[in-house]
């Protein structure tokens, strides 16, 4: 009985120990499973992070050269795109420069990932410079390329991209000099008739007969405009005629420098015509720089002094029609000449004669009939003919290239400048 009790006691106590051990083992196993599961999670997370944060591939074939045909202080850096550029993980490329191949690389600039070149401006001339280009990820990480260098920026003494313009200018000069010499040697040069300029004598004569003044306007532009200079050249010829006929010439100016030149031109013309006393500085005067104040002033002169002839020769803007219509309303004979394409329709509508574009530049030579000037005009026409032929050939070549008949448009470089 005692033994049974003892066994039973032992059995009870043994049963309790087993239970404790079982619970402990269970807890241990649970903890182990939990830890194992945790370990697994960490491993999965680490694997995933490794997948996202793979190192970026840097750009390849980085090169840097001095920017051609410039004033120096600039280097062109080019590279081949990183393989990551198509993955959508790139922000762009950063460009770094240094005076040493290994250290001291400073940020020079950044470009979008679609770009494969960068112009590094503002650097010193003739200083060895090294470049590295880095791919920049969306998360800001960078991957640097190999170092390229040294390369030096330096200024050029000739812009090679403009050699075609230079050749054209040389041909132009040769043509003008040739025809000027031909004119000097007495060769007869044919110049087509320009109705507007043929009418100039009649216009001056009409004003003389009517005892009314001639109004001469060179427009609102400055002396740096070639059209204004052309207008001043014509003014010299007109002033000679008005001096001969003793007709009053009124020249309101919108630019003080133009006024000073025009005063001198008219004064010289009167002196040459043997009438220096007839010249009055008050007839060539400054009005205003303001566009419509100038229009108001000139229109006032028109309606008060009622000139018989009005000549518009130079550069004009929106004021052209207001001036020309006022001139037409007072019954003046009007001759205009301008290279402003947008104002030509207004002058053609309102004036009796209009010199279109280049005719303005030919007017001085045409009026003076000086052989040397006519030679220059002939040279200009010759170059225009050459340019016309070249344009026709270029159009044909471009059409053939576009339709695939020929491989390349070899005429294109002729018309492109840098």
């Amino acid at each position: 009985m005692l033994a049974d009790r003892g066994l039973a006691r032992v059995g009870r106590s043994g049963m309790g120990s087993v239970a404790v051990v079982t619970i402990a083992v269970a807890l241990f196993l649970c903890a182990g499973v939990a830890l194992a599961q945790q370990d697994g999670d960490i491993e999965t997370a680490e694997t995933m992070t490794e997948e996202v944060l793979q190192p970026l591939m840097p750009p390849t074939a980085v090169t840097a050269v001095d920017t051609p045909n410039d004033r120096g202080s600039s280097i062109n850096v080019t590279w081949e795109h990183s393989p990551d550029s198509e993955s959508g993980t790139l922000l762009g490329y950063s460009i770094y420069r240094s005076a040493h191949p290994e250290t001291g690389f400073a940020f020079a600039g950044r470009v979008p990932f679609v770009q494969d070149n960068y112009r590094d401006s503002g650097i010193g001339d003739n200083e060895p410079t090294y470049y590295r280009v880095a791919t920049v990820g969306l998360d800001g990480r960078e991957s640097l390329s190999e170092t390229f260098g040294p390369v030096e920026a330096f200024p050029q003494w000739f812009n090679g991209d403009r050699i075609n313009v230079m050749v054209a200018v040389i041909i132009f000069v040769i043509a003008i000099v040739y025809f000027v010499n031909a004119a000097r040697s007495g060769k007869d040069l044919f110049i087509r008739r320009l109705a507007g300029l043929d009418e100039m004598d009649n216009a001056v004569g009409r004003a003389t007969e009517m005892g009314k003044p001639i109004l001469y306007i060179t427009g609102l532009s400055t002396i740096s405009d070639v059209a204004t200079i052309a207008g001043i050249n014509i003014l010299g010829e007109v002033a000679k005629k008005t001096a001969e006929y003793n007709t009053k010439l009124i020249v309101p100016c919108a630019d003080p420098i133009v006024m000073a030149v025009e005063q001198e031109v008219v004064k010289e013309a009167y002196a040459k015509a043997g009438r220096p006393d007839a010249y009055s500085e008050d007839d060539v005067f400054y009005l205003t720089r303001s566009q419509f104040a100038y229009v108001a002033g000139v229109n006032g002169i028109m309606v008060r002094q009622r000139p018989a002839t009005i000549l518009y020769m130079g550069m004009f803007y929106a004021e052209s029609l207001v001036l020309a219509e006022t001139g037409a309303s007072i019954g003046a004979i009007q001759i205009a000449g301008t290279d402003a394409v947008t104002q030509l329709p207004f002058f053609i509508t309102s004036c009796d004669y209009t010199l279109i574009g280049e005719e303005l530049y030919a007017a001085s030579a045409y009026l003076s009939r000086e052989p040397i000037l006519l030679g220059g005009l002939k040279g200009q026409d010759t170059v225009k003919f050459i340019a016309g032929v070249l344009l026709i050939v270029a159009v044909v070549v471009a059409t053939l290239a576009a339709t695939g008949v020929i491989e390349t448009n070899f005429m294109a470089p002729l018309f492109v400048t840098g």
Partner: protein, 209 residues
């Protein structure tokens, strides 16, 4: 010498301006910038010259008791009062200053009035140009009608091809003519410049001897 010096100066300056186009080197380009700066300085002095010319001419008109001397009084009074208002108020460019008030309430409306006259002049010029007396004038009239109708919604309502015809007129015959004129203008400019630089054209200094 009176002719040789200006001609030599013109040749040197003109040649430099032409040559600098082909030379990007800073030595040349910096000089070019300096010369452009001189132009601004010259312009400031030239304005003084212009003002003197304006005052002298109107003064002579008043002194000679010309018929339209009333306008000369207005011009001189306007000139003196605006200069005076500019000096009286140190911050004359600020809103509310007398100078600014005069500019905004007198000059600006007068200039706007002159500009708006353009609309009426366009109408009168169009009336004159579109009278179909010749074949050219008739063509102009037809082209203008198509272009005007193509630019407003009613053109599309009249016929759907009118806007397309408008674009064709503007892009083909109109543009071709404009480019033709512009090529001639470009060459004419070059020729005139060269003639002046080389001393062939001397009308700007009163013509050749």
């Amino acid at each position: 010498m009176r002719r040789q010096i200006p001609l030599a100066l013109c040749f040197i300056a003109g040649l430099f301006m032409a040559v600098q186009y082909f030379i990007p080197h800073p030595t040349v380009q910096d000089t070019y910038e300096i010369v452009l700066g001189w132009l601004q300085t010259l312009l400031a002095f030239a304005f003084l010259l212009g003002t003197v010319s304006l005052i002298r001419m109107h003064f002579h008109k008043i002194r000679n008791r010309a018929d339209d001397r009333a306008f000369s009084w207005v011009t001189l009074l306007g000139l003196v009062s605006m200069i005076g208002l500019g000096f009286l108020h140190p911050q004359h460019q600020l809103p509310g200053s007398p100078f600014n008030l005069m500019f905004l309430n007198v000059q600006v409306p007068i200039e706007a009035t002159m500009f708006s006259l353009l609309a009426f002049y366009i109408a009168s010029a169009a009336f004159r140009a579109f009278r179909a007396r010749t074949l050219e004038a008739t063509l102009l009239l037809v082209a203008a009608c198509i272009v005007m109708l193509g630019r407003v919604p009613i053109g599309d309502l009249i016929h759907e091809s009118i806007p397309a015809a408008t674009q064709w007129i503007l892009n083909v015959p109109n543009l071709a003519a404009k480019r033709g004129v512009m090529i001639g203008v470009g060459l004419g400019m070059m020729a005139t410049s060269l003639k002046i630089i080389l001393g062939i054209e001397r009308a700007w200094m009163g013509g050749s001897d």
